[in-house]
């Protein structure tokens, strides 16, 4: 980049004008290449441009119109089809715009090259093909990943955004009814209609408590277990290491369903076996049966403990790896300086763990924020109901699921809540990623 700027200053005013002219010509892709006398490239680019024009005439304009109107006649126009077709068209246009910018950049680069070092610019068919392969190879490699991502992520995200601004719910199911744009009405109804507002805020606050409590618990257990097992004097560490990994190795849905049964209030093992065992073991105490899965409070306690059980091995493995990478002489030096065990931990071990693992710790928080499996498989979000279809242990993601699959689906509310969740998760991740070095590139 810097090199380019330096070169620009050497160029005369005339030459700079010429380069800008080429870039302007590229508004119609190919013209800039023709000006650079790269006929083959120009023909290819102009053909792509022509394809888009045809596509727009035969399909595109109508699709965009459909996206704007979402249909006029019930039963004849299917609003959802129109929405999807319009979304496809929006994607096509965005991809075309990216292509256009790339063509412009290319034309500018070649024009500059033609002035500075004309011998490096290629014109023949063969040379063009070779340079296309040489420069295009990395793009070729990324195409499969992008193709799947566009289909499975970008497109659904766009559709979700659009649906959040419509009135698509059980009142308006196409093709019998039309779906209409309603602007921010869906969002404002979440915050103003008392039924939705109360549900949203109680679900939201439990989601936050759940995320913080469960993730912190699994972090503490994970880090602590790693510290204990990595002490040099511990024997059988291999054996204990394998046991500590078991909760990760067994698929989580199996353990969650097992726990769901073990915590059954009337016949589950906790109430029929574990608590009586403690009552017998420790004299003078008599713990009554606990109403897991029936009482919201105890259900929440159980869910948080189970996530601690399921989630800590990942942290434990990660921390173990980091502990083994801390140079031994740091500790030796600190011993000579008279550091105590606690000081060693606070000033060497802890900072090192966090320096390496902080981004991964954060992904644990965002992961639990959307931990549908545990909430739904343990007790289907229950017990009880707190209105608008949510149970007392539902988090936002499981509420979305219920809004979409219930007997009176609220697709637009569900889409709006999805957007709110995404905004929260992305904001938190962005802040963290920009504070750590993930965004810094090596070049």
């Amino acid at each position: 980049m810097e090199n380019g700027d330096v070169n620009e200053k050497i160029l005369s005013r005339e030459e700079r004008k010429q380069i800008n002219k080429v870039a302007c010509l590229s508004i119609i892709p190919g013209l800039g290449q023709f000006y650079n006398k790269q006929i083959i490239k120009g023909v290819i680019f102009i053909a792509i441009f022509f394809l888009l024009v045809c596509e727009m005439i035969f399909y595109g304009f109508e699709a965009l119109q459909g996206l704007v109107s979402l249909g006029n006649i019930p039963r004849e126009d299917h609003s959802l089809f129109l929405l999807i077709e319009g979304t496809i068209q929006v994607l096509i246009i965005v991809i075309y715009l990216i292509f256009m910018v790339a063509v412009m950049v290319d034309a500018r680069k070649i024009a500059k090259k033609r002035i500075i070092s004309p011998s490096t610019v290629t014109y023949s068919i063969k040379a063009t093909a070779v340079s296309l392969y040489e420069n295009g190879f990395p793009y070729l490699l990324t195409i499969p990943a992008y193709l799947v991502m566009i289909l499975a992520i970008v497109f659904p995200v766009l559709v979700t955004i659009f649906i959040a601004f419509t009135n698509y719910n059980f009142h308006n199911i196409p093709p019998a009814n039309l779906v209409d744009w309603v602007g921010f009405e869906t969002f404002s109804s979440i915050f103003t209609l008392t039924t939705y507002r109360d549900t949203f805020f109680s679900v939201f606050s439990w989601t936050i408590i759940w995320t913080v409590a469960a993730t912190t618990l699994q972090l503490i257990i994970g880090v602590f277990t790693a510290l204990v097992l990595n002490q040099p004097h511990i024997r059988f560490n291999r054996f204990f290491g394998v046991i500590m990994l078991l909760p990760w190795a067994v698929p989580a849905f199996i353990t969650i369903l097992t726990f769901s049964n073990i915590f059954n209030p009337s016949v589950g093992a906790i109430n029929t076996q574990v608590i009586p065992f403690f009552n017998q073991l420790i004299p003078f105490i008599d713990i009554p049966s606990i109403s897991w899965k029936v009482d919201p409070f105890w259900t929440k306690i159980a869910i948080i403990m189970i996530q601690g059980w399921v989630g800590y091995p990942y942290i434990y493995v990660l921390t173990s790896g980091i502990l083994q990478s801390i140079p031994k002489d740091w500790y030796e030096a600190s011993v000579i300086d008279g550091a105590s065990a606690i000081q060693k931990f606070r000033h060497i071990t802890m900072p090192h763990i966090f320096a390496v693992a902080a981004p991964i710790f954060i992904t644990q928080y965002t992961g639990n924020f959307n931990n549908f499996n545990l909430i739904y498989l343990f007790n289907e979000g229950g017990p009880g109901s707190i209105g608008s279809g949510a149970g007392s242990t539902d988090i936002l993601i499981s509420w979305i699921y219920k809004l979409t699959t219930g007997t009176s689906p609220q697709y637009n509310i569900s889409a709006a809540v999805t957007l709110i969740i995404s905004a929260i998760v992305i904001t938190i991740s962005m802040v963290i990623f920009s504070k750590t070095r993930a965004f810094e590139m090596e070049d």
Binding site: I153, Y168, I234, I254, N261, A269
Partner: protein, 285 residues
């Protein structure tokens, strides 16, 4: 005199440290093994029990396993899951390896922007886009079909894992590429014969993760697959245990074991590569 006292307190401290360390490890082991042992033993128990508990008194039989394959759709579910997981694994690992290699080794126009795009898009909780999947599935006939579910599984894992893959490729020294190029190797040859063999451990880890994903995923499978014949294992096994009046816990336990044993074996076989895979991607920019 003072010195021996110091040594004595040190010894005492070490004793308590050992005592609490082992006590903690024992306690954790019990807490981990208890529910797992309950599941394992229940699989071999006879008769219909309502709920799990630890009961080692027998009698034991393999009855539950035969019932599982004769009376339920378990075998079908297993094949469904293997199919979905296998396809997911092959396509996802191929896509992330190619893309990760491109981002690690080439400096092309738009690289920085697209890396940022990857980083941001991997934060989007795609599973939450249920409504969109429903509408899309409705229009392309993807509801109640495996291919649509597989597509979503593949796509969901790509951004994060491309990032991890790139991080791992970065640990392979660039000199190798340069000397390969000097020897006249082209793009494909350098990639296929020189670099790819060096990242095999990471490929194995990624393959395992991609394969394990569909085994554990419940929400999308439950949402998109409506007929029991098409269920995956997670959705199928849940039907054994979700009805309070019809708890088939011994069948569930038997089914769970047949899933857990192969997955656990693969897991422990590849376990030593996990840490390098995790930290390489997490720390290098």
């Amino acid at each position: 005199m003072r010195k021996s006292k110091k040594i004595r307190t040190q010894k005492l401290g070490r004793f308590w440290n050992k005592f609490f360390s082992y006590a903690y490890l024992m306690l954790m082991s019990v807490v981990i093994i208890y529910p797992l042992l309950i599941t394992v033993t229940s699989a071999f128990r006879t008769g219909n029990i309502m709920a799990f508990d630890l009961n080692l008194s027998g009698p034991w039989s393999l009855n539950n396993f035969t019932r599982l394959f004769n009376d339920t759709l378990y075998g079908t579910w297993y094949l469904n899951t293997l199919k979905v997981a296998g396809i997911t694994m092959v396509i996802q690992v191929a896509a992330i390896t190619l893309a990760g290699y491109a981002y690690s080794r080439y400096r092309f126009t738009g690289r920085k922007q697209s890396i940022k795009f990857f980083l941001i898009i991997q934060m989007v909780p795609t599973t939450a886009a249920l409504t969109a999947f429903y509408v899309m599935g409705l229009l392309v006939g993807g509801l109640n079909s495996h291919w649509f579910l597989t597509l979503i599984y593949i796509g969901g894992g790509i951004p994060m894992n491309t990032w991890l893959m790139k991080g791992y490729f970065d640990t392979v020294p660039l000199e190798l590429d340069e000397s390969a190029k000097l020897d006249g190797a082209g793009h494909l040859r350098t990639f296929w014969q020189i670099i790819l063999p060096l990242v095999k451990p990471m490929l194995a880890v990624q393959a395992l993760w991609a394969f394990m994903g569909p085994f554990g995923e419940y929400m999308l499978a439950r949402f998109l697959l409506r007929t029991p014949e098409l269920y995956t294992l997670a959705t199928g096994l849940q039907t054994f245990i979700n009805n309070p009046r019809d708890q088939r816990v011994t069948l569930f336990a038997a089914g769970a074991i047949l899933i857990a044993i192969p997955i656990c074996s693969l897991f422990f076989y590849l376990q030593k590569h996990f840490v390098s895979g995790l930290t390489a991607g997490g720390t290098k920019g």
